[in-house]
Amino acid sequence: MQTESSTFEPLVCIKRIDETADSATFEFKKLDDGLFEYKAGQFLTFEVDVAGELEYRAYSLSSTPSQPESVAVTIKRVLGGKVSNYLLDHLQAGIALPAMAPAGVFTLQDNPTTSELLLMSAGSGITPCMSMARWLLDTKQAVNIHFIYSARSEDDVIMANSLIALNEQYDNFRLTRILEQTNNTDDMQGILDAPLFEKLIPDNRGRTIFTCGPAPYMQAVELLAEQSGFDMDLFHKESFVALDNSKELVASGVSYQAVAPQYGKSFKVAENQSLLDALEAAGVPVIGACRSGVCGACKCKVTGEIETTSQATLTAEQIAQGYVLSCSSKAYSDLVVEL
């Protein structure tokens, strides 16, 4: 059924660009040709029906907000990746997908920054960094960008031509590609480690890092930055790439009883299990989108004791009424939950 909800708006795919053997960029416009409003670094959450089950996935935008007629996301095939692989196999120009409005705080505006920017990414994590670079350059901001991108080989570089074009066009954009396998002398060979980090960033004073990529990559960047004495107030990483270890946690420990009277559901919430996982397991129609306390899709009203790690998007009034983000909440007593 075509979406009628106010949370989701259908976006029509107008172009598909196959970037590498396992990734593609999809450009979208609004049905009414309306303009997009967002900040570079934000993401879109799509609702995707995969074999009869609705799934929600967030993808960072790679486009620049300064060209608001369309937006683009880049999707990479992942082993066992239910939604990403489905979209790569099926999404073509002319098809629409329901999406939530752009969201996220991994942006230049929401974080302390300086004019010396290190945009460090790996794999499909390039997208928010690309969006930031494009916006900064397109709007002629007085910044210097060092764009450091890691990939397995030249064939795995996403948006390779766009990166080269930016490198050629702008004096304040410098590109470094770190490739595990390469014969190209313009590239650095290897993986990002301490000596390479030191070589790339000999002087880290007054610099800001934005990093996005697979979780181990971001952990490595964070560790290297700390070790090199980087001012961590200026270190920012994308956080919605959450680790899903909820299944292991459910097995252990105490659990509480919860009820969702609107849906006639009664269920257990294990200690350490997110309320979102418990609601989903019970069949309560909650929307779990970013699953990391950013997008606000999973908000619900709770009576009971809750420990919560994020209140993003909730108004003071909602918080006072007992609203929480279920993805970022754990139960500490029996609960009554309303959507």
């Binding site: 059924m1 075509q2 029906d49 074999a51 009869g52 489905y86 098809i95 629409a96 997908l97």
Partner: protein
């Protein structure tokens, strides 16, 4: 008002059945009462249709009319008082015609005409109030104070079962299939039911006779559909929308769908199937139309949301129709044949230009969604073609068990049992499905067993005929009875077509069927015990224990 024919009927400690000012289906007390009057009048017609046959007086028009008008009283079919009254008056005029011919024939033969039954003598009141005041004396549970609940339950089982059979007779008739023997037997049973038998054994026997009769009717229907549209072939069907103007066709009538496809050819309008029309995509003579683009929505109980979101007109060719005012689409839904709702446009004849005009005036789907294809079309022939491969996999030990999970859908939460069950069925088992109950799980990915899809969609509810044929073929191959096969039937019921399919399966001797989500309210615990003792019929319990029992077989 008293109506207890469907699964959602009101159940209270004070007694079951819809007996207030409106039924759970939205049928008003007025319409319900008039439907009771109609049924009784039709039974009078059947009385003389049976008697006249003794002199070879057979009127094909009347033989077609009686089951058709009876079908109008099935759940979620006709909510229009005037049309119900119209059918009742026509029934009585047909009765008078037959009565006259019968009496003349008797006179010529020198015989005394038989004493007419009360239903045959029944005279409709001249005005509306008069008709309504007749309702209590002809109510389906008339005389309940005189007989025990078991007798009443059996009378209703027979009446509702025969109503399901009547619906299939009408479907078969539209496809050009009639059978004199079937009509004769139908009239005989229908007329007899009006005599309010209190003989338990005789009523039980009649319920089985109705099942047997319905087997013949489903066979006719199968013949009609496959003759006209070819044998269903396994076919991929998109269940997502496609950009462009659109018409939605719901119900069971493939002929209406064909006419709509012909009349929309070249107009740029896309045609979608809904609910029980899904199997249409498997028939060669229907799937050849490229503008039959997709199946839209799910089962009937979701129509108030799904039809509301459909950006084009909707044609309701048979059951199930529910209040179109709730979703605010009454001005773009069209009814056909016996279907009716007050204020909704009804199309007589074969001209759908009004529907096409409506589609053209509407926006249609603004965009296409990612196509999601499911497979349908495992009708009798396709199943028979697949049978050798299936048998080979059974012998090789790759297929352990067969499940037939099908029947009606509905909106009770307990119906999630059917989703949970099919998800829990082990990977080395095949699932056959039919009727709209399949929408609880037919979009899930069940995978395959060495090239054989694990979920085989057999078709509409009446295509249980095809499933029976497969079971018989398997039993022959394995030299055993159907009940000895590693086959379990788990049915979901909502209305009277499902009741008659159940009676057919029982009359064929199929045992250990599970039925849910609840027991028919008209069946008493005693009757359920009888069915359990004779046929091993049980109600569903929980997925885990049911599955364990079924797989242990």
């Amino acid at each position: 008002m008293f109506c207890i024919q469907c699964e959602q009927t009101i159940r209270t400690p004070a007694g079951d059945g819809c007996s207030y000012s409106q039924g759970m289906c939205g049928k008003t007390e007025e319409v319900s009462d008039l439907q009771d009057v109609l049924i009784y009048a039709l039974q009078g017609t059947s009385f003389y249709a049976e008697k006249a046959r003794e002199f070879d007086i057979i009127n094909a028009e009347i033989d077609a009319f009686v089951p058709k008008a009876f079908f109008a009283t099935l759940t979620n079919v006709n909510f229009e008082a005037d049309r119900i009254v119209g059918y009742a008056r026509l029934a009585q005029s047909y009765r008078d015609q037959l009565k006259q011919k019968y009496e003349v024939a008797c006179l010529l033969a020198g015989q005394q005409p038989v004493e007419p039954s009360a239903a045959a003598k029944f005279e409709l009141a001249n005005d509306h109030l008069g008709l309504l005041s007749q309702a209590s004396s002809v109510a389906v549970n008339r005389g309940k104070e005189l007989v025990n609940e078991d007798i009443m339950g059996l009378r209703l089982l027979c009446l509702y079962g025969l109503k399901g059979a009547a619906a299939y007779m009408e479907h078969a008739y539209i496809l050009g299939q009639t059978d004199e023997q079937v009509s004769a037997e139908f009239h005989q049973i229908f007329a007899w039911l009006a005599t309010d038998s209190d003989d338990l054994a005789e009523l039980l026997e009649t319920s089985m006779a109705i099942g047997t009769l319905n087997y013949k009717i489903m066979e006719m229907l199968d013949l009609g559909e496959t003759t006209k549209f070819g044998h269903p072939q396994p076919s991929q069907v998109n269940v997502k929308s496609v950009a462009g103007k659109a018409i939605l066709v719901s119900g069971h009538d493939l002929c209406d769908l064909e006419m709509i496809l012909k009349q929309t050819e070249g107009t740029g309008i896309n045609v979608y199937t809904n609910g029980e029309m899904l199997p249409a995509h498997g028939y060669p003579e229907l799937k050849k139309y490229t503008h039959l683009v997709a199946n839209y929505g799910s089962a009937w109980q979701n129509q108030q949301k799904e039809f509301a979101s459909f950006p084009g007109p909707i044609v309701m060719t048979s059951n199930c129709l529910i209040d179109p005012n709730v979703g605010d689409y009454a001005d773009r839904i069209f009814t056909r044949s016996i279907v009716g709702w007050p204020g909704v446009a009804h199309i007589e004849g074969n001209d759908f230009s009004e529907v096409i005009k409506c589609a053209q005036a509407m926006e249609g789907f603004k965009y296409s969604e990612i196509p999601h294809e499911i497979t349908v079309g495992f009708g009798r022939n396709a199943l028979m073609n697949a049978a050798p491969a299936v048998i080979e996999q059974v012998k090789a030990g790759n297929i352990r068990h067969f499940f037939l999970v099908g029947g009606c859908d509905g909106d009770k939460e307990e119906r999630s049992y059917y989703t949970d069950l099919t998800k829990a069925i082990p990977q080395d088992c095949l699932i056959l499905t039919l009727a709209c109950g399949k929408f609880k799980f037919n979009k899930l990915n069940f995978g395959e067993i060495n090239g054989i899809p694990r979920l085989l969609d057999v078709g509409q509810c009446n295509d249980s005929y095809s499933a029976i044929q497969l079971a018989l073929a398997l039993a022959e191959e394995f030299e055993c009875g159907v009940n000895d096969l590693p086959l379990s039937l788990v049915l979901s019921w909502f209305e009277q077509k499902a009741i008659v399919v159940l009676l057919t399966l029982l009359s064929l001797g199929v045992k250990n069927i599970r039925v849910g989500p609840s027991k028919p309210a008209f069946l008493t615990d005693n009757l359920l015990n009888v069915l359990n003792q004779q046929f091993g019929l049980t109600l569903i319990t929980d997925v885990e224990s049911d599955l364990e029992t079924m797989l242990a077989k």
